[in-house]
Amino acid sequence: MRFFPALIIILLLTACGHNDARRAAGPPVLMAARVLPAATDGTVRVCWYFDLAADWHLYWPGLNDSGFPPSLKLDLPEGWSARPLRWPVPVRHELPGGLLDHVYDQPLVVLEQDLVPPDPVAAAGADIGARWRWLACREECVPGDTTLVVTVPYRLEAAAKVLPGAEPVYPAPLPAGSFTADWTGADLEIRAPGARRLRFFPYEDCGRLADLLADGQAQGDLLRLRCVPDGDTLGPVRGLLQVETDDDVLTGPVEVPITTHIPDRGTS
């Protein structure tokens, strides 16, 4: 799987009725990309599509026991720059032996990225090259890679930015006051009034946690993360907090800075 003309893949995915049935055959991952026309500020949005065969998953770029997330090397025209990738909200993937990964296991995974051309007016027609590498796993793991080249269109397309069947959910800031995070000893207590379930997905640079498998999700409105002191400090605790209520599921970033840990006397 070295090179796929992106538009052909998009057509194939659409023609196959991707939203109707999960692909059961073929390689674990097919990739496609679509570039939206430049916005009024000149920004160009690229959607990267990972079409996963049944039972396979990809990895979220946070704290996982195994695997690695898709990686991208862009080949941009001179003067262009890229903003960080937007990764959808992952799900917990528990494995025998007490292992825990955070993964994408839906049929179609969509990552978004904004690109900034040096001259907004001249963005149309530019070629965006991308080299993707990934690891797809089910029982076994298979690394893959592909190279895509997509062209910034000249005018608005009628099609939506996402493919049929793909409704990616990206993290967004949680409403102000919707949760609190307080230290109790070496435990970080996260409360979200009204929640019926809470989940925490730690970023890769999150401070050490004692048992994410047990602590990373909780019924009710209280999630307690037991942290492991590093010398006389705890944290930082960085990641995504998912708040599930009867009406909605919201996922947004949470960051609790490093705090001093005073054993047996609580923490500041």
Binding site: S66, F68, P96, G97, L99, R133, E139, C141, V142, P143
Partner: protein
């Protein structure tokens, strides 16, 4: 086939990762290798031991055993200095990379000069907290874990990193110096418990 002797840890009752950290006593074990020989950690008392969690069908194992020979070369370099190297396969029966036949073939396929120990119940893997293949543990001559984590600092399935953490730990131990990096995040396939 296997006798697991646990050193101060209650592991058998808990079917989940317990794990051992640098500075802690390495859990003892006796496992049978693919050639039928039994190997106990206690056999190597007073020696430096490297444990490598292994699954012949994991792409990350192939990276270091087949494509880049990291494991073979590191093992060979330190075998001359008396370091013992054991590969442990904790794949459960029926899971990827499990079974005597597959691992006998892997020994030939990867020209492995080290014993491949089978741990189909995963008890030794869970005692050590082995998460990935590979996942490396360096045990000092005093029986304490000196390093736990990745073999190197490139988490991809194909390219090599610039730092071989196991070699660095072994160099330090052999020189009688503290291990600078005692713990890293392992990377690879999940152990198929």
């Amino acid at each position: 086939m296997k006798i697991l002797t646990l050193t101060g840890l209650l592991l058998l009752a808990v079917p989940a990762l317990a794990g051992v950290a640098p500075g802690q006593q390495a859990p003892g074990f006796t496992l049978t290798a693919v050639d039928g020989a039994e190997h106990s950690l206690a056999d190597f008392t007073g020696q430096i031991v490297v444990l490598e969690w292994f699954n012949p069908d994991c792409p990350f194992v192939k990276k270091h055993r087949l494509h880049h020979k990291t494991m073979n070369e590191t093992q060979a370099a330190y075998a001359e200095k008396g370091v013992v190297w054991l590969a442990v396969n904790s794949s459960a029966a029926g899971k990827q990379g499990a079974g005597l036949e597959r691992n006998l073939k892997a020994v030939e396929q990867y020209a492995m000069p080290v014993p491949v120990l089978l741990d189909p119940d995963g008890e030794v893997g869970m005692a050590y907290g082995a998460r990935t293949t590979p996942h490396m543990f360096v045990i000092a001559a005093d029986g304490l874990v000196a390093y736990a984590g990745a073999i190197d600092d490139d988490r991809s399935a194909d390219t090599l990193g610039g730092t071989n953490y196991v070699a660095a730990a072994l160099d330090a131990l052999l020189a009688g110096e503290p291990v600078a990096t005692e713990r890293t995040r392992p990377y690879g396939c999940s152990v198929k418990y």
